[in-house]
Amino acid sequence: MITGTPKPIEEILEMVEPYDNIIVAGCHGCVTVCRVGGHKEVEVLSSTLRLARESGGSKIEINELSLERQCDPEYVETLRPLIDDYQAVLSIACGAGIQFLAEKFSKTPILPGINTGFLGVTERQGEWSERCQGCGDCVLHLTGGICPVTRCAKQLFHGPCGGSTAGKCEIDQNVQCGWQLIIDRLKALDQMDNYLKLKPYKGWDSSRDGGPRRIIREDMI
């Protein structure tokens, strides 16, 4: 899923300062699962904003709502009938959702209420960690199912570097060395011969470096 973290309330208050009538929009997708942008969070954030503004002597009206997904035109369109009644939308969906709203409603400021994080997994309640950078050219079959682009701090294709110590990465004792994980997995799978091959340069053109990406599936159009 796409993860995120709430923006500091001071930053949000500063963003909404010019407005007294806004929508706070959540999303039922990934951000609900990682508890940063679902309807519960819409309610909590809205009350916090109301209280803060009230105590500052400048009230704010908030319409609390959540869309099924902010990244899908079908659901985004449900906002259209009411959008003109508000001065701004504070979205707590991921960056994709926020931008999609901005694209669809060109005259309304759309403000980000969260910092979008990464493509990750739930380790346990309250803990998420990154697994994929969406580089567009998956090599997991060669690396024991562990991604060197994401899990190695240097994105090495022939790791580990000299900084790997007791399974930990040189950048932080709390970060596992991705290459130690890869090697452990390759050994368990009896695939160490994959390790001993020189790998070609990675083509980053399928990644962000190639410019904004687009997928067109002719079979679905």
Binding site: A153, K154, Q155, L156, F157, H158, G159, P160, C161, G162, G163, S164, T165, A166, G167, E170, I171, D172, C177, Q180, I183, M192, Y195, L196, L198, K199, Y201, K202, W204
Partner: protein, 308 residues
């Protein structure tokens, strides 16, 4: 000869070789490099010039190499893949070769987290293994990775670093093998303090016959004080200083600890000289270049051979 560098000549002639390193300054003052180079001169076969080591911004290694060269010392350019993509790396390889730098060390580079710009973007477009291979293909095949022909191939004696003390141990030798396949001509190791681990590493290296395929230069760093030893052991990833080594320095009064550090370093070089498969030493006297002559001379490695 692959590169015609002095280091290559000395090693190929079968001499026990000596390299050292110079860290360029945190500024644009060329005198700083010249001063260091004067301490290095005549004590080594080539001198590494580091590339923003520990991610702390310094004068570029290429500029440092040119200053070192001007001072009459053969430069060895260190190149990390942290800060430059393959376009910049290729371009710098061509530039360095054009300016007469004939030795190259390919490195990953410490993560930028350790430096003064921890918020910098890191590049890591290709890794150090691939940089070795890139330099070798340019040199031997005269082509860019794209396959286009070079107008003049860069000539480098190509090196890589190995750290016998990093984990997991069992891939250390296979990894060296891979680096040799990629095109490494020589190796400089991380500073060695734990001779037992290093001996084991060399035994495993020899079992694979790798010491015959690549010239292995053992890395040493004299300890200036017990404090430095403890700090390095604790905070520098991949450094392993056994308790008994620290104790030997710590047992001395403060003002004699530096001399003890040098004595231990000389002793160690003596031991390394006798080890089968070791082709030379890489003396990293960090911000202590003025001691190089004492260390290298003390180890009986002066004068340096002249090979035509």
């Amino acid at each position: 000869m692959k590169s015609g560098s002095n280091l290559e000549k000395v090693l190929e002639a079968g001499h026990f070789s000596v390299t050292a390193e110079c860290g360029p300054p945190r500024g644009a003052d060329p005198e700083h490099v010249r001063k260091k180079a004067a301490f290095v001169k005549d004590n080594v076969d080539a001198c590494n010039v580091t590339d923003n080591q520990t991610s702390v911004v310094r004068m570029s290694s290429l500029a440092g190499c040119l200053l070192v060269k001007e001072s009459g010392v053969e430069p060895l350019i260190q190149m990390v893949v942290r800060d430059r993509n393959r376009i910049a790396l290729q371009s710098d390889l061509l530039g360095a070769s054009a300016m007469g730098v004939r030795n190259l060390l390919c490195l990953s580079g410490d993560h930028q987290k350790f430096g003064d710009d921890p918020q910098a973007k890191n590049v890591f477009d290709i890794d150090s293994m691939q940089l070795i291979n890139l330099a070798r293909r340019m040199r031997d095949e005269g082509v860019f990775p794209s396959g286009d022909k070079l107008e003049g191939a860069p000539k480098f004696y190509i090196g890589c670093a190995v750290n016998p003390f990093a984990d997991p141990y069992e891939i250390r030798v296979p990894r060296l093998k891979l680096k040799i396949e990629a095109g490494a001509d020589f190796v400089q190791t991380q500073c060695i303090y734990n001779m037992d681990t290093f001996k084991r590493y060399m035994e495993d290296t020899k079992k694979e016959g790798l010491h015959e395929k690549v010239k292995i230069l053992a890395g040493v760093t004299p300890l200036k004080s017990a404090g430095m030893a403890k700090f390095m052991n604790k905070f520098v990833a991949g450094i392993d200083i056994p308790e008994e080594v620290i104790k030997r320095v710590a047992d001395e009064p403060k003002e004699k600890q530096a001399a003890k550090g040098i004595e231990i370093c000389i002793e160690q070089i003596g031991e390394l000289k006798e080890m089968e498969g070791i082709a030379g030493v890489h003396v990293m006297a960090i911000e202590w270049e003025e001691k190089l002559n004492e260390i290298i001379g003390g180890a009986g490695l002066l004068p340096r051979p002249v090979v035509e």
